[in-house]
Amino acid sequence: MAAKVVTVNRDTKPGIYPVLIGMAITFKNMLQTMFGHGAATIQFPEEKRKTSGRYRGIHILTQRLDGTPKCVACYMCATACPAECIYIEAGERPEATIEKYPTRFEIDLLRCVYCGFCVDACPEEAIFMSRENDLVGTSRAEMIIDRDRLMERAKLVEYGPGYRPTDHDVRRPVRIAALERLKHEHGIVPGPPSR
């Protein structure tokens, strides 16, 4: 493709008009941050900054109706975690239908990079992220939060839910990759998802 030559005339002098437009924008923003809704300063901690519904804050472990964790200790989140900040120990539940649950579930919030991969990886929708983002502590040990803290509902109510698996493709990335390989290597296209 032949290159197109554009000639730019830089030998121009701006008139007063563009300067006035620029000044107007600056002045408008100044007034907005002083009196309007776009104020950059907020009265933290009484007032909290607004975050989006997909904000990735501190994790939440969801519960079953009886208050036990929905997590089945499959270690998918710990496997997906790029920061290796999730520590799980599995135990046996008495019900044969569920079998497995986490006796320990700890997240080192200082190691966590808040990428949300754990939420994507979870097959049970047992972990998602809240919009809680003001983490304070006096020691590193305090920043490793355990299962009970992760299941605290009050925090969730206070901050609201963040990144969670609501509008995900039901076919997870691994499966999509495998489907593509199957099509490429064997020319097989399984039927569309039944739902």
């Binding site: 270690y75 599995a90 135990g91 064997h186 097989i188």
Partner: protein, 506 residues
């Protein structure tokens, strides 16, 4: 064998062919229908297609049938990650199930069969466990019950598995129907790293994998070796990994001072040992252990020859039990992995009784024990009391170590490189899976350290070098090195005893 992967569930290299899973269908020219690869005899000029459209379609159909009643359990199933069903679904299936979860046939879950957990829902009815029970252990614990969709495996009245090879049932099961109770919920398998090794539990020397993570052994698994253990190992061997992670490991050297034990670094402890051996000279005695590797034994032997003391290893007469089978499968009466190595290197010299007699007579100035076996024997108690200096290389803390004057921390089998020689005179390689705790050191290194202090260093920096020296010194091992021993081990020419037994058999 040609490197062509054919999907299968029921076929197992060490079990008879059953041909029930229908997963290995292949297209063969001039045959009207697809044939199962496992039970079709190869003939001249046969043209087999394993990835033709017809064959792949057959794999997919078979898999869909197998998955009709399979629960969606993968998140809680310990087999996930090493499950044939999972692998083959990702390879050939990827279909959406036509069956709703509620329509699936429910079967028994979480049935405790002692060392094994049974989950009948996950079973694909391949009958590998039945064939294992029938052909390897001869116990026939499992049978199919019910028919059609409701068919499942069961033991009679849910009785537990009592034989010593139950762990293999979890290994042969291609899915998560039979799982190890010991490994249950402990770890997801994809976190584990496998290191080739040899089981130290008895003189059979089953080839194994050490599955470990972050320096901790999590389980032992048999590694296939047709010459030794096929695909099996016993449950006693499987428990060997628990010894490694014990809290009560000896992690530092210590010397008995005037007021009891005093901690010492390994080099200072070796200094002390070298001084005592120099003083004692030929009035010293050395007891090797059949728990040690060939390299350990060689360095120990070299040291003993240098000092000129008495030398033996036969505490408890392991040499008489080396070839004695304890059951009909693998386990042998000699619970040491390397008694044959001791015999091959000619460590049975003075006789343990003679050494003890010399000790009792006060003729031994320094006694060096490569393992704590002698401390455990009751007859040796008096004799040991008369030796002014007893040094012991130990792996595990026990009160009996108080009978010694110097304790050296020894690394265990999973923490060292080396070789064991099994009852068949097969030299097999063990590999270092992870670091030893504290300042625990391989036994050959400590023996070599004492040799260095006595003025004749062993020209070796690694276990590989020691083995090279050994191969030059011991005629039967001539020409061997770690490379030629390889993953499967190397059989030595038959010794006189073996030839005798072969003749007796004939």
């Amino acid at each position: 064998m040609a490197g062509i992967e054919i999907p299968h569930f029921c076929w197992h290299p060490d079990l008879p062919v059953d041909g029930n899973c229908r997963m290995c269908l292949v297209e063969i020219e001039k045959m009207p229908k697809l044939q199962i690869a496992c039970n079709t005899v190869v003939s001249d000029g046969m043209v087999v297609r394993t990835t033709s459209e017809k064959a792949v379609q057959a794999h997919r159909t078979t898999l869909e049938f197998l998955l009709v009643n399979h629960p969606i359990d993968c998140p809680v199933c310990d087999q996930a990650g090493e499950c044939y069903l999972q692998d083959q679904y990702m390879e050939h299936g990827l279909h959406d199930s036509k069956i709703q979860p509620e329509e699936k046939v429910r079967k028994r879950k979480v049935v405790d069969l002692g060392p094994i957990m049974l989950d009948a829902e996950r079973c694909v009815l391949c009958s590998r466990c039945l064939r294992f029970e029938a052909n390897v252990t001869g116990t026939n614990s499992f049978e199919f019950v019910n028919r059609g969709d409701h068919m499942q495996i069961s033991t009679f009245e849910n009785r537990p598995i009592t034989h010593n090879y139950a762990g293999n049932l979890a290994d042969v099961c291609p899915v998560g129907a039979l799982l190890s109770h010991d490994f249950r919920f402990k770890m997801r398998v994809w976190f584990l790293e496998a290191t080739d090794s040899v089981c130290p539990g008895c003189s059979t020397g089953c080839n194994i994998f050490i599955d470990h993570r972050d320096g901790e052994a999590q389980r032992l698994r048999p590694r296939r070796n047709v010459e030794v253990n096929k695909s099996w190992m016993c449950d006693i061997g499987r428990k060997e990994y628990k010894e490694i992670a014990l809290d009560a490991r000896v992690t530092a050297a210590r010397v008995r001072g005037t007021s009891g034990w005093e901690g010492a670094s390994v080099p200072t402890a070796l200094d002390t040992l070298a001084d005592r051996l120099r003083e004692a000279g030929t009035a010293s005695a050395f007891l090797a252990t059949p728990q040690a590797t060939n390299e350990d034994l060689f360095a120990f032997r070299t040291l003993a020859e240098k000092v000129g003391g008495m030398l033996d290893f036969r505490v408890g007469d392991p040499q008489d039990k080396v070839r004695v089978l304890e059951d009909s499968v693998l386990l042998r009466a000699d619970r040491n992995p390397n008694t044959q190595g001791c015999l091959d290197q000619g460590l049975g010299r003075t006789g343990v009784k003679e050494i003890l007699a010399a000790c009792a007579a006060g003729k031994v100035g320094a006694l060096v024990l490569q393992g704590p076996e002698l401390l455990r024997s009751a007859e040796a108690l008096d004799a040991l009391g008369r030796v002014p200096f007893v040094a012991v290389m130990a792996t595990r803390e026990e009160p009996l170590l108080d009978r010694a004057h110097l304790v050296l921390p020894a690394a265990m089998w999973a923490e060292v490189d080396g070789t064991f020689t099994n009852y068949q005179r097969r030299v097999q390689r063990i590999r270092r899976a992870f670091a030893a705790p504290g300042s625990a050191t391989p036994r050959w290194q400590m023996a070599a350290g004492v040799s260095t202090r006595l003025g004749t260093p062993l020209p070796a920096a690694t276990a590989r070098d020691v083995f090279a020296l050994l191969a030059r010194a011991v005629p039967d091992y001539a020409g061997l090195d770690f490379k030629t021993v390889g993953a499967g081990g190397r059989g030595l020419p038959a010794g006189p005893e073996q030839i005798a037994t072969q003749e007796a058999r004939a």
